[in-house]
């Protein structure tokens, strides 16, 4: 069926100060610092071939 595909969030990489109460089906990873967060984001994005959005509060979300 050829319908407009809505992107879905498959993972999110957060920092300790981020408070995300409900992640739904998304895979959540909490990094210790920004450097680790960026590295983790790249690792997961490469593995899942996902597009990455950096939210203004610093959370990286991976969408497909």
């Amino acid at each position: 069926m050829d319908t407009k595909k809505s992107p879905s969030i498959i993972a999110a990489i957060t920092l300790p100060h981020h408070n995300v109460p409900h992640s739904g089906l998304a895979f959540m990873i909490e990094a210790n610092n920004e450097e680790e967060q960026y590295t983790l984001m790249q690792d997961v994005a490469k593995a899942l071939k996902a597009d990455v959005v950096k939210l203004s509060n610093g959370i990286f979300i991976l969408i497909s």
């Binding site: 050829d2 790249q42 597009d51 990455v52 959005v53 950096k54 990286f60």
Partner: protein, 306 residues
């Protein structure tokens, strides 16, 4: 041809000439261009054989009527079924390929292609039918020279082919819109083209570098405001993106975006082959899908040509 004895030489010649004309009409409409569809050689062969059958059905209809064998004409219904199967087969075949393409064609484009392939078989039928009818008519008015009969049949068949070709010729994106290269601007993870927001999915440095260095963008601006209805259509944009990515390949990123304020449609991709002129040319020649034609100017088609 009375349905009992051997076929007469005259009828045999009529059937052969009409069948050749019908098949030739299909051959002339089968073109392999940048779209590379149908594939060569097997796709070609399939469509030529189908056209031969369609032309044969059209060719024998006149001798069948002449011999008062009216029930034989009902096989035209069989032809219609055959052509519908052509459309169905094309649709299924193209749908099966969707996951193997850089970007999907989309159902609207597939529907348009399948309809075109069905219609082209009617070309064969109508050209062969008109050729056969003309030969029979010329014979009927007392011209016994076979060469004159055949030449008249070929001439009318050719006129029918030209008229049908012009009538069914679709318009392209270039007919209703101006296509210009756009300026790519990557601001953090956001992508803009000519100042219009396109996406914010460039979160990684690799993505930003790749799009900034290798990305190509086009801005499609409709010539009239009402053409936006056609260009903004999801199926039409998918078709444009499909043609662009199939011809130039795509490394990773591809986007289409419509700007509601200006009415422009934006296309961005990171192609394997960086050729701006080719990209513009491809988008310009992308067919306007029949299913999305909404304005009277776009729907209009002329038998006499533009």
């Amino acid at each position: 041809m009375d349905g009992k004895g051997l076929i007469s030489i005259d009828d045999l010649i009529l059937i052969i000439i009409a069948t050749i004309m019908g098949t030739l009409a299909r051959y002339l409409t089968l073109k392999v261009d940048y779209r590379q569809y149908p594939s060569h050689p097997n796709g070609y062969l399939i469509h030529l054989v189908l056209a031969f059958i369609a032309a044969g059905i059209g060719a024998v209809a006149i001798p069948a009527i002449k011999s008062s064998n009216y029930t034989a004409v009902t096989f035209l219904a069989l032809a219609i079924q055959n052509f519908r199967d052509v459309r169905k087969t094309e649709r299924e075949s193209l749908k099966d390929l969707e996951n193997t393409e850089f970007t999907p064609r989309g159902e609207a484009y597939i529907d348009g292609i399948a309809k075109t392939f069905e219609a082209r078989n009617y070309f064969s039928l109508l050209v062969s039918l008109s050729t056969a009818a003309t030969i029979e008519f010329v014979r009927g008015i007392g011209v016994n020279n076979l060469a004159i009969q055949v030449v008249a049949g070929i001439a009318i068949g050719y006129i029918m082919y030209v008229a049908l070709s012009r009538f069914s010729k679709g318009k392209t994106v270039g007919d209703i819109a101006a296509i210009k290269p756009g300026q790519i601007d990557v601001r953090g993870s956001e992508l803009y083209v000519d100042g219009i927001f396109v996406s914010n999915t460039l979160g990684t440095e690799n993505a930003q570098k790749m799009v900034r260095a290798q990305g190509m963008a086009l801005v499609i601006e409709p010539n009239e405001d009402h053409y936006r209805v056609t260009l903004d259509n999801f199926g039409q944009r998918k078709a444009i993106l499909f043609e662009a990515t199939r011809s130039l390949g795509v490394k990773r990123y591809h986007y289409t975006r419509k700007d509601y304020e200006s009415g422009k449609t934006i296309i961005v991709l990171v192609p394997l082959i960086r050729d701006k002129d080719k990209l513009i040319n491809i988008v310009r020649h992308t067919p306007l899908l029949e299913s999305v034609k909404k304005s009277p100017e776009v729907i209009k088609s002329s038998i006499l040509g533009d």
